[in-house]
Amino acid sequence: MSRGLAETFWRNAKKKQKLLFGLAATTAVVAVAALSFGTYAMSPIHVLKSLLRMAEETRVVVVWNIRLPRIAAGLSVGAGLALAGLFIQTLLRNPLGSPSTLGISQGAAFGASCVIVLFHAGPFGTALAAFCGSLGATVLIVILGRLRGLTPEAVILAGVALSSLFGAGTVLLQVLSDETRLAMAVAWSFGDVGRSNWPQIGWLSLSVTCLAGVGYWWRWHLNALDMGEEPAKNLGISVESLRWQGLILAALVSALATAFHGVIAFVGLIAPHAARRIVGADHRFLVPVSAVLGAALLLLADTFSRLILGTGSFPVGVVTSFLGAPLFLSLLLKRRA
């Protein structure tokens, strides 16, 4: 006699879909609310009018030139880092995987510090060098992994070693620089979504959308990899090819996010773990929920830094680190319990 197991499977999927839409809608509401908060307070009605360019000029400028780019950047960086973290964790089968663990973020910081200290570069040159630094770290990891046939665990260890190397290089450059350059390099290294412009947000959003699309396209392959590398191969999946294509895509998104906004720690690590606690390990839901949670997390952290700390320019990277570490520890402890 049938117990309706298949029906329960589809019903659970519908429930998770509703949960996903609920999370996305809540994030959208928080984003609109975040548009109204700030030194120049506005009601939600004024915000909507400003978005439609029907409010007075000052409000339109505040919304379109200051708050909206910041919030859009927060959402796309958060979603991008969360997706990159999820890809790295699943493809390397390591819960500690994230753009920071692989040395991608530290590569960007090193690249940025190089051009700030040695060439007195402006914002464009800094972003370009940070991008090159991230890509350099990625290329090193990929070459080490492909040529030496490193295991996923060894890839993470290689990432930790590279992080340490880039970290030491960054400190050395800072020691050698004068006070002004030192302040600029340190300020850049604290992640901040307030320094975005619309073209940067456009490129980042495009890359995040591609990563999300690929993640959803591969959702069942990623599920298979969750059972182990050899079981996935036994299902006809080319694990090596999937792994390196996915890591390169994740690294590209992290590189763009870090190049434009500096080092923002913990989002890529926490958001996928939080998503796993909410929707389980099924990548049909884990991919979109990680993206939404990452976006929401960075949006909340940035709004917190803007409002609670009051300065309007407090770097969100510091907030994510302060909030992220205890949150991650509590997730780990709850999981053990």
Partner: protein, 250 residues
């Protein structure tokens, strides 16, 4: 579907692991691969399912070379059950549904989920369907991995020491299940088995590997103390309980 293994040799860094291994498995037959640790049992299974590429020889499925089938083609005809599953947070239903992956391009259909439901009910796993795989006991997990392999609708089933981490009751449960599935579905089964008595009780033939070569291929009733001494280097007595031969170390 007949599985034919034709003189395969596999070397790792010029160190020979398998040398000219040749045997056939018929539908509905279970062949146990036995031998000491490092004899090449797991390597043989990996060569059979295409994960390792033998430097010489070939593996044929109903006369067709495995290399021509490609990874997905192999997965449509051949399923493997590992010693132990990873600690996945997927549910049992989702794990078994993965077995349908080689047969489809996009997401699972209603037909796929109904096939999984049927397998879970047949194997008495329905109560576990929505439990997370990581929370299962060793015996339950092994049965779920077997269910996943069956949902691939394979003609050939490869088992890598399927009872290694199980207590006596679960060893018997899993092997009885494998035996009944082998007969019912007319599967050709190759199982690497450590425990000689389990192999004697449940397999149709035993293939003894020694230093990567086939030393002997015999029916359970033909296993002698001399064969066991030669393969394992221990003195044993082979006695019988009913029809089943039993090996007792001296």
């Amino acid at each position: 579907m007949i599985l034919s293994v034709l003189d395969i040799s596999f070397h790792y860094n010029s160190h020979p692991i398998l040398e000219r291994v040749r045997f056939h498995v018929r539908p509905g037959e279970m062949i146990a691969v036995c031998g000491v640790n490092g004899a090449g049992k797991s390597t043989l299974l990996r060569c059979l399912n295409g994960i390792l590429k033998p430097q010489r020889g070939s593996v044929l499925l109903d006369g067709q070379d495995l290399r021509l089938l490609g990874p997905k083609g192999i997965a449509r005809s051949m399923a493997s059950v590992p010693q132990k599953g990873a600690d996945s947070e997927l549910t049992v239903f989702e794990v078994v549904l993965l077995g349908r992956l080689p047969h489809r391009q996009w997401g699972p259909t209603r037909h796929d989920t109904l096939a999984v439901e049927k397998i879970l009910e047949t194997m008495d796993l329905a109560d576990l369907a929505h439990r997370r795989f990581s929370t299962l006991s060793g015996g339950e997990a092994q049965k779920v991995l077997l269910a996943k392999a069956l949902s691939q609708q394979p003609k050939v089933l490869l088992l890598d020491e399927p009872t290694n981490h199980l207590d006596l009751k679960n060893q018997l449960d899993v092997m009885r299940l494998v035996q009944s599935i082998t007969r019912r579905e007319s599967l050709a089964v190759v199982a690497a088995i450590h425990d000689l008595n389990t192999a004697l009780r449940f397999s149709d033939r035993l293939l003894f590997l020694r230093q990567g070569r086939i030393d002997e291929v015999v029916a359970p009733g033909e296993v002698t103390a001399e064969v066991v001494r030669r393969i394992y280097g221990v003195e044993v007595q082979v006695c019988r309980i009913g029809e089943t031969p039993v090996v007792v170390p001296l």
